[in-house]
Symmetry: C2
Subunit: 201 residues, 2 copies
Amino acid sequence: MERPGGRTARVRAAVLRAAGDVLAEQGFAHLELSDLARRADVGKTTVYRRWGTVTAVVTDLLAEMAAESVPRTETGTLSGDLRANARLVLTTLTDPRQGPLFKAVIAAATCDDATAAALRGFYATRVAEWAPCVTQAVTRGEVPRGTDAEEVIRAVSAPLYYRLLTGTGDLDETTADRAAAAAVTAAVAGVFTSAGATAST
Amino acid sequence: MERPGGRTARVRAAVLRAAGDVLAEQGFAHLELSDLARRADVGKTTVYRRWGTVTAVVTDLLAEMAAESVPRTETGTLSGDLRANARLVLTTLTDPRQGPLFKAVIAAATCDDATAAALRGFYATRVAEWAPCVTQAVTRGEVPRGTDAEEVIRAVSAPLYYRLLTGTGDLDETTADRAAAAAVTAAVAGVFTSAGATAST
């Protein structure tokens, strides 16, 4: 006999995998619970009872993506850590499945509040995972005290997401390394301290 | 008697205004040619003959937005110019009509190639409008020769678009000024030269 937790977990994994497939291949507009049940080979009733709405599936998918996010790299320097972060974001956004999936989820979030909240939760988890590399750099004296660690992490991601979503500029290792280098340089100069934004211009 | 150009221009303005309203209020999925004709008080046949598809209307709207983009400010320093640029992007993205409109168009571009191409065209125009402030800074000796002017302009916008689309972090003047300050600091340090991305980390 199988433990109920095992079956529940398998159903969830199958439905979320199907949802990711549809999002990556066709976008948010094509997500339907009955189609997900068919693709996941799970009873329709189970899917309707457990999630109820397409939005709930996307929210759950984002929660799973946050939980599975790759642990941060520790290289011993801020520039090494942020470059690793930039390369990880690049790998994700240029992945043939993950890139379109992120585009679809971000697009869905622009017109659905529950998805937008789930997306914010996902990025909060990702940023919190990587922020310690900045606070450690503060401790090591690489960047000034008062540096906003989360802002630095977001600064590394921003140019890569900007390219993914606006289609302008390349999305390659040069761009990723430049995003990391720009964030390090600005952080060292104190731009990410509370006074830095006004003081440095 | 009215010149045909006058009427044609008025019809276009009315339809594009209606399209902008629908995009800002309800998103791309709710755009319909017959509804636009009704809102713009223009004959359905005219709208179908002139644009034919919803995508063509969005493409035309983006062309008009590019043509109407505010001329750049010239302050005499790179930091002044980039701060003005960041504040302009902020004003646009936090505007109650423009912000949702940009979200809707970017979301539409994630699942429609023609819209994506029009969006790239829009940003190419915007970036080209502002890039001279960086080339002038090179001439003045503020930043190194070989600085990629368009990359610097994109670096200023990226953190603001990242916030708009992921919902993480504030979208305020501090963020705008910090985006400008980070871009200036990185540009001065040579991060945006072709060798800079690898050399600075």
